[in-house]
Assembly symmetry: C2
Homo-oligomer: 122 residues x 2
DNA sequence: GGTCTAGATAGACAACCTTCGATGGAGGAC
DNA sequence: GTCCTCCATCGAAGGTTGTCTATCTAGACC
């Protein structure tokens, strides 16, 4: 049933529009849990803003000021949450943001009433 | 410096547009941490979808199937994260979603490239 | 006053998370 | 082959979190 990277079709209903099902809440909270650490938020941002939209571990370990195993650990959590993708090229492991993964979360959090008035034009 | 409910102006820069500062990452992760539990996601959704956009504890304790103190505990976390507001009316405590709080998070998660093409028209 | 209800707080306990140093494994250079 | 670099995994320590029961506070009502 998944379209891309495990996302199901229930993704596009804003959280505030109707009571979410327990299963969907669990799935959603799994992704938010991946973002519930300042280091992981920084890693995600660093990867996304890096040239080419991808970065290897060595590129982002020093900026966050943590040990390499810890950074590897956090990156794994982001990958398992479906937010980052990992590609091995030679000795290096390149991480990139999964297309649409953050947009999916953005859609779920969008206020269906206030947002319509303020943003959407077409 | 806060505009509404502790939100600062750095809120509107998408996470993926540029490397986030450590302070902003900490602030952001505090809000995501509030959403990092399935029960809290359900509570938020139940409150938002309840008639009038507000609900008392007794309205939402039974649907989530947890004890009343536990629900109170989760609601407090959501309030402290700036996502819910609490108003005491008589014996009841009414909770409602803080206007713009989720929209703020939605904006931060929006992909500045892919989203521009798909949504914004003006 | 006394009693009932709605909800918050306190304390306890198990589970989980973050971080580290040490180690292991795979690929490239020589 | 040997060495070196990049990165993942392992095991452990310390802190944090989710849940409960028991208790407390504050209104409403008689």
């Amino acid at each position: 049933m998944a379209t891309i990277a495990g996302q199901d079709e229930s993704c596009c209903i804003p959280l505030t529009a109707a009571p979410i099902t327990p299963d969907d809440a669990t799935e959603l909270s799994r992704k938010f849990k991946a973002l519930a650490d300042p280091t992981r938020v920084r890693l995600l941002s660093l990867v996304a803003a890096h040239e080419g939209g991808e970065a290897c571990v060595c590129d982002i370990t020093e900026p966050v000021g943590l040990s390499q195993p810890t950074v590897s650990h956090h990156l794994k959590i982001l990958v398992e949450a479906g937010l980052l993708a990992r590609e091995q090229r030679g000795t290096w492991a390149f991480y990139s943001v999964v297309p649409g993964a953050l947009g999916h979360l953005s859609d779920v959090l969008r206020d269906p009433i206030a947002r319509d008035a303020g943003i959407v034009a077409v």
